[in-house]
């Protein structure tokens, strides 16, 4: 009987009829499958050819070496310099063209991410939550971000009465500035970074402080208690967590001996080690503090949806709110890029960057860090504000500073000591890890000596009913 075998309830039917991705992929029309497989084979053949060219050294430095767009840029500027134009025009062009092309590149990277980012995040979050994300707008829901953007753009802009006109319009734009400027010093390939500043690290730290201003303006100008409350919380959190970021980056600078981002990446590549293996505590502190900087869970108390609606951007409607939400995503990959550059080796991968373009490696790392962010968002509830602040000021900052001193000592030893690098670096890694773990345990004991850190109590099972007397008997 079909009623015996067919699952009875709609939910069980849905679970039984669910097809895996492979099933659905193999179910596509034959024509599409043929075309895709031909394209795949052709792609592999091309890669092998390019690999051969790379190995035989025929590609290095040429302008068509796509592993590094900097080569093309250098060829272009050389061509302009050699041309017979007026020297002022030449100098303007050699400055302007790389600047424009690079800026277009960065903005298209960020903009492109903002197109598929929301889709990716929502589908990933849904996977963690046993449901499907957007899957209706366009194939696999790919047009969802576009639909959202169009919806937000056509909404009525409602400006609250009493809002400060100028200060109300500035924040959605102002909050985007650090999200795009922060990409400037990041090296994508040996010759490919937009503005390889000598003080790159300082630039990064300074840029991360700009976001605070936009949040402040948004909260104040909205003329709304929710917004003000959200803005205050967010500002307190953001400025508190700038210090662990700075201290972690200081540890990085001490070890690598330079504040120039491309040199940091070079150091990691030459030593054949990633900084996360040497100074893990600084890396993790940087990661955690960055989630606070960009207002992501578990540190999104400023926009705690269940408590204060949307925090500092409550009163923004339409695309203004859309910009705030978009910038959260843009900041997330910026932090991913910074994390990869400083601690995960940037565009290098122990020599693989001669074969595969460095920017692809960097993009993969950014994707991995972003995946980590979404994973944390899906699993952890958010911290309360005083718990957040306590964590920053009482734990992260003291421990980071102590470990940074340790790193300073180690880096001076590293320069003077003349032993094979795996020995010295291995020793440094070992010392750092033990110091980090030991210090954490000791400091937690000290900080929480008044608190009850024991395991949470399990409830009691009983069969005798009663009131206060019975409760006393139960408690023993």
């Amino acid at each position: 009987m079909s009623s015996d075998t067919r699952p009875a309830t709609p939910m069980s039917r849905q679970i039984a009829e669910h097809r895996s991705l492979l099933d659905r992929a193999l179910g596509l029309p034959k024509f599409i499958l043929v075309v895709l497989s031909v394209a795949l084979i052709g792609f592999v053949i091309c890669q092998i050819l390019i690999g051969y060219l790379v190995v035989s050294g025929q590609l290095d430095g040429k302008w068509y070496d796509v592993r590094d767009f900097g080569n093309a840029m250098v060829s272009l500027t050389d061509a302009i310099n050699r041309s017979q134009m007026d020297s002022r025009i030449v100098s303007t062009l050699t400055y302007l063209i790389p600047a424009l092309l690079g800026a277009t590149g960065i903005v298209s990277v960020v903009g492109g991410w903002l197109l598929i980012g929301p889709w990716a995040e929502r589908r990933l979050l849904a996977k963690f939550q046993i449901r499907q994300g957007p899957n209706r707008t366009g194939p696999f829901g790919l047009l969802q971000s576009l639909a959202d953007a169009l919806k937000l753009m056509q909404k009525e802009i409602i400006i609250p009465r009493g809002a400060d006109r100028f200060l109300y319009f500035v924040p959605p734009i102002a909050v985007f500035i650090p999200a795009i400027l922060g990409w400037a010093p990041i090296p994508w390939s040996p010759k490919m970074s937009y503005a390889d500043l000598d003080v790159g690290v300082l630039f990064v730290i300074a840029i991360s402080s700009l976001g605070v201003l936009a949040v402040f303006m948004a909260g104040w100008a909205s003329n709304n208690h929710y917004s003000l409350l959200g803005a205050m919380r967010t500002i307190a959190m953001m400025i508190s967590y700038e210090i662990p970021i700075s201290v972690s980056l200081l540890a990085v600078v001490l070890l690598t001996g330079s504040t120039k981002l491309s040199e940091i990446v070079m150091w990691q590549s030459e030593q054949g080690v990633w900084l996360i293996m040497l100074i893990p505590f600084a890396a993790l502190a940087f990661l955690f503090a960055s989630t606070a900087e960009i207002n992501r869970t578990p540190n999104d108390i400023g926009e705690a949806e269940s408590e204060i609606v949307a925090g500092f951007y409550t009163e923004y409607s339409g695309m203004k709110a859309g910009l705030f939400m978009a910038v959260e995503l843009g900041n997330a990959i910026l932090v991913g890029a910074l994390m990869s550059t400083f601690f995960l080796g940037g565009y290098t991968f122990f020599g693989l960057e001669t074969w595969i373009p460095g920017y692809l490696i960097l993009a993969t790392k950014i994707g991995l860090v972003y995946f980590l962010f979404v994973w944390i968002r899906a699993t952890l509830p958010r911290f309360r504000l005083d718990q957040l602040m306590g964590f920053a000021w009482k734990f992260l900052i003291p421990v980071s500073i102590v470990l940074m001193f340790l790193t300073a000592i180690e880096s001076s030893i590293l320069v003077r000591w003349d032993v094979p690098s795996f020995l010295s670096l291995g020793l440094i890694a070992l010392v750092n890890i033990t110091a980090a773990v030991g210090l954490t345990f000791v400091w937690m004991r000290v900080l929480f000596r008044d608190n009850d850190l024991s395991a949470p109590p399990t409830p009691i099972l009983t069969r005798k009913m009663g009131g206060l007397q019975a409760a006393k008997v139960l408690r023993g």
């Binding site: 009623s3 699952p7 009875a8 309830t9 709609p10 939910m11 069980s12 979050l125 963690f128 939550q129 046993i130 449901r131 208690h225 929710y226 409350l229 919380r233 869970t297 578990p298 999104d300 108390i301 705690a304 949806e305 269940s306 408590e307 204060i308 609606v309 968002r377 899906a378 699993t379 952890l380 509830p381 958010r382 911290f383 309360r384 504000l385 005083d386 718990q387 395991a455 949470p456 109590p457 399990t458 409830p459 009691i460 099972l461 009983t462 069969r463 005798k464 009913m465 009663g466 009131g467 206060l468 019975a470 409760a471 139960l474 408690r475």
Partner: protein, 367 residues
């Protein structure tokens, strides 16, 4: 020069993303600390008690669906039991067992929702909520199979239940009951040792046992403070006296204890359902009563244990087909008696989490 601060008023609700319903909190805050907390209800007031005076007792059963809409089965059951006690109607055994099965299924669904929304209030972006909804979906599908509705079931009748479940119900129920303990273990593991969750809920919203009793708290709010009082064991109704189960009691009365009481009650509900499935006899699923039952003149206050606490029905009959007075003692409203004391001098986030742990349903508060 000292900075002067002044308290400001913050309105939380009546529309807010926290899933409690149309419930408004007017909070006077000084920085992040609450100085005064005032709740304003009545946005969902539908004058249920007045309307009930114009309808027969059976026609009043759908009202109880809409009162506590997350635990419709127990609401229906409470009214049915009250009228049966008043009018002296006998209920066949099969109906009693069916009532127990559906009440416990409803308890699982309601506790899953309550705990899930508590964690969402604490900020976990609905992941635990959606995990628990997986089981709740299956339970609601079972309800739909039996009585046609998922939420406002209108299933209990005076003298029994409305329909006998169809043949497909029993294998589906057996399958659900077999996999539930593993799933509840899964939720347990995910949540119980999550440090962020513990930090948000331990030591927050503590209610002492004396306060709890004096403020007429019942249900998991009372049991979380250490008082072992459950109407299914203390004042058994239906066939609960034949069921073998434990009552879960917390230790310190904070949010975490109330949460754990609800979590552990899920296991007990599964136990009860298993026993009911094995003991259920065949027979009629309701007794025949007159179209408009006319109980003798008199009054009764009868109560049962809903997932939120003691839901009581005070019925006064004047011998006619409709009640002279119909009062629904709503556990959600009375569990809020201590809200002001709990909220004072707490952080706003703590007040929200405490409110979530008291598990309110605004339909019940406002009726």
């Amino acid at each position: 020069m000292t900075t002067s601060t002044e308290p400001y008023v913050l309105n939380i609700g009546p529309q807010h993303p926290s899933t409690h319903g149309v419930f408004r909190l007017r909070v006077v805050m000084d920085g992040e600390k609450i100085k005064d907390l005032d709740m304003i209800v009545g946005y969902l007031h539908r004058s249920m008690e007045k309307l009930a005076e114009e309808r027969t007792f059976t026609q009043n059963i759908p009202f109880t669906d809409r009162a506590d809409y997350l635990a419709a089965m127990t609401g229906n059951l409470g009214l049915a039991i009250a009228v049966e006690r008043l009018a002296g109607v006998e209920v066949p055994e099969r109906a009693e067992y069916l009532r127990v099965i559906f009440s416990e299924l409803q308890r699982i669904a309601s506790h899953a929702m309550a705990n899930g929304t508590l964690i969402s209030d604490a900020g976990a972006w609905q992941t635990p909520l959606l995990y628990m909804f997986r089981e709740r979906e299956k339970i609601l599908d079972l309800f739909e199979m039996t009585c046609g509705a998922r939420l406002t079931t209108n299933y209990m009748r005076i003298g029994g239940v409305a329909f006998d479940p169809p043949l497909e119900f029993w294998p589906a129920l057996q399958e659900l009951v077999d996999e539930l303990p593993d799933r509840i273990d899964e939720y347990h593991e995910l949540l119980v040792s999550n440090e962020v969750f513990l930090a948000r809920t331990r030591g927050v919203g503590v209610i002492s046992p004396e306060d709890a009793i004096n403020a007429s708290l019942t249900g998991p709010a009372l049991r979380g403070s250490g008082i072992p009082w459950d109407l299914r064991k203390a004042d058994p109704y239906s066939v609960y006296d034949r069921m073998d189960f434990d009552v879960v009691v917390g230790k310190s009365g904070d949010v975490y204890d109330r949460f754990m009481v609800r979590m552990s009650e899920l296991y007990q509900s599964v136990k009860i359902i298993k026993q009911a499935i094995s003991q259920i006899p065949s027979g009629a699923h309701k007794t025949d009563i007159p179209l408009a039952l006319r109980p003798d003149e008199g009054e009764i206050y009868s109560r049962i244990e809903s997932p939120r606490g003691e839901i009581g029905f005070f019925l006064v009959s004047d011998g006619g087909p409709s009640p002279y007075r119909f009062h629904l003692r709503a556990p959600s409203l009375i569990n809020l008696s201590l809200l002001n004391e709990l909220g004072r001098d707490a952080a706003l986030s703590d007040a929200i989490v405490t409110l979530g742990s008291l598990d309110i349903v605004v339909g019940e508060i406002d009726r």
